[in-house]
Every structure is written in C-alpha cells, then in structure tokens.
Subunit: 242 residues, 2 copies
Amino acid sequence: MEQITSLQNSRVKKWCALHKKKERDNTGLFLIEGEHLAQEAMAAGCIQEVITDEERKLPFPKVFYVTPAIMKKISENVSEVHLIAVCRKPDLLPAKLNRVILLDGVQDPGNLGTLIRTAISFSFDAVYCSEDTCDLYNDKAVRSTQGALFHIPVIRCNLNDLVKNLQKDGFKVIATSLEKSHTIDEIPAEEKMAFIFGNEGQGVHKNLQACADDRLRIDMHGFESLNVAVAGGIVMYSYRQK
Amino acid sequence: MEQITSLQNSRVKKWCALHKKKERDNTGLFLIEGEHLAQEAMAAGCIQEVITDEERKLPFPKVFYVTPAIMKKISENVSEVHLIAVCRKPDLLPAKLNRVILLDGVQDPGNLGTLIRTAISFSFDAVYCSEDTCDLYNDKAVRSTQGALFHIPVIRCNLNDLVKNLQKDGFKVIATSLEKSHTIDEIPAEEKMAFIFGNEGQGVHKNLQACADDRLRIDMHGFESLNVAVAGGIVMYSYRQK
C-alpha cells in the first residue's frame, strides 16, 4: 500500500498532466472518475493504477492512497470524488462490421460521449471520428459514455478515405443533411450501413456529403433543429441491429 | 445610450445576481447570451434590456454599453460573449394539447434544455416539469434549448395531480420504464398522449409509474442504458405530430 501526502509529489503532477490532451496522446493514458467507470475499465483490462482518499481495500491491482486535497487537485468534478483511475486507452477491434457511425467534427464532448453510449445500446459495431472531432479521453466525454468506450471500438481516421473503403466493402453510406435528403421511412434498412453525423453548427462537410450514397433527414415540423446526439439516437434506433 | 464602466455599479451587481436561482425566482428575470438567443427572446417579447461591450447600434429597446471586464463578469461562458440580454420569463399557454412530455426529476440542465428543443421539433404542445427538475433558467439549460423555451410552454407543477387531470381530459399517460413495459411498436399512437421521463439515475418515480396507463421501453440490446435526452428524442420522434 503506497501513500502520497504531498501535492508536490511527482506522481500527482503526472496525474494532473493527464487533463491535457497532449499528455494523453503522448502517454496513451487517461483518467476516469468513480467506481462504476473503474469497474468497466477493470473488466476491459485497461486499469493502470487507482487513486483514492478512502481507507478501504479496493479490488484493483495497484492502489495509491492520497489526501483529500490531492484528490481534489486531480479530480475534474465539482462534487467530491473518492476514486480516480489511470487507464490505458482501450484498443478494441470490431468483431463484425454491419452498422457504423462516422462523426465529422463533433465538438461537444458530451455529445461525443452520448453518441458512443447510444451506439452500443443499438448494437452498432464501431464509431469513427474525424481528426477534428473532440478528444474522446477528455473528462466530460468519458463520463458521457458511461463506460461504453470500453465496449465499442472508437477509431480516429480520415473519413474521406474511410467512406471509400466502406463502399468497397459493400456499405451503404448515408450522410445526415436537411437538404435534398430522404426521410428515415424512405431509406430501407440494408445489411451494411454507415451513417455520418456532422458538427453541431455546420453539419456534415459538403465533400463528405458528396461521397455518400444517400442523404437522410429526420422528419419534423417547426424548429428544424435537433441536437446531434438526439439525431444520432433517432437514426441509430431506426436502423438498430436486432 | 447608457454607459457603465464600474464593476461596482449597482446594475452590474443586479445582473450578476441573476446567476442564482433564488434571484431569478424573485425577479422573474434571467440572462441569455449571444445574438441568436436575444433575437428569439425579442421576437417573443421577453427582452427587458441588453448589455454589450461593442460600440454598434443594436435593434433592442434598451441597451447598456459596458466594458469588456464587466461583460466577462456577467457572462457564464468560457468563450467571449459580446451580447447579454436580461429577459422576462416567457409566459406561454398551449394553443392545443395533444402531445405533452412530463419530466420527473431531470437533473442535468443540458438534458432539460435538449428535451425542450426536441419537443418543439416534433410538434409537442407543452413540457411539464416536477418541482425537483432542475431550473430551466440556468445558463446551461437556456443554451441547450437553443431558443425553444420562447416557443413552447414549460410548466412547473405537481406531476401526480397533473397525470390525473390529463387522464380526465382523455390523455393516455405513458411512463418510460425498463420493467414490465411495452416497446414503441407495441403502443399505437393515439390522439392525446403524455410521456413521462425520469431522473438520470433513478428513472420515473414508482408512484408516478403506478398512475400511468402504460409503460414504455425503447427496444435495444447490449448496454440497456440511454441518456434521457436521447430516449426522449426517440419517443417524441416515434409519436410526433404530423
């Protein structure tokens, strides 16, 4: 059992540095908060070490006992947290590939996390993110996934190249768009489908829309505007795998 | 044209006080940020006064010109904001009542705002919130509505009483629940329907579930867990008014 009491301890500094994307990219590590997420990470074999300010035995391999002040310094939550885990980024591969989503520049970490959580609920096989989609390993995004990031491959890549590869592989690629588009009822389910969701303000890039096989809009009246995580939920529900 | 340069000015203090729910409740006022929301508020006749640090003519009745430091003090956004409006809470009444949602203890302001935004997109007529649902006029909730709060009545009331009244009025009241419930495909659309969504952790209170005419779940595999705003989106889309 290792105890740390100084805010200046080098480990504490290393943990805090993981709040920055650059450090997460360099180390392949990220932080999660709370026991629920830690257990999901443990089951996925992604736990590196665990930090707590509670004196109790924990079912994790390497535990550091720290002061509440250190805990507060490492935590990104407003409310009190008693368990933080340092995790290795999961490296999952899709077992099969019939339903995928492509996220083209989604900016809000809450939306990103929620889309991943929804994808797994409707048995989607993978989530692909453009280079300019926000970082999955930021605190808000991780929390919004509710642990789903340990169960579904999330892959960052060039979406233009990906779309071509998916099409070669027999996928019907569908971009969400309000213009010149079909409703969900007008686009029948097929074996292999990929859906592209865009940035909160700009939507899907025009060049990606042009590569897609079809364009889809969600039938609605009035406001003509849905949050991207809600739109994603409706589309993934409508084309869910059973 | 009125100018304010002191951070200690009594108006500045009054505006900042509106960050607190108690002050918003007492005054019936709240703050919105950015030109898009201000225009929605203006169209709805809810603008009391506008605050800006930019020297340009604005199409609002009463404008205060302030320093960037004052602007920063009043704003709740991380990024720079150049227009803040003090608004009166809208007092809308539903024109007709065929589709409504009931929010039973929704805690996250982003979820609340998103549910309201979605409700208007699918032509729902009103949103009812339990007393313990989070405040609609908090900055995050207002932003998540994207202005929808100026277009749809949002009413805070006792949901148990409301359910009884809706049922007298011919509504079919449906609680979302994972247990002993029917899927969307099993519950046909009727003329008057009310859907209850619950707290992010606990779901719909058991006593409210017991009052409902039916229980609904969203058909899914795997994770068995959806964000409440996503669940709301799928249900409202499925029972949208055309």
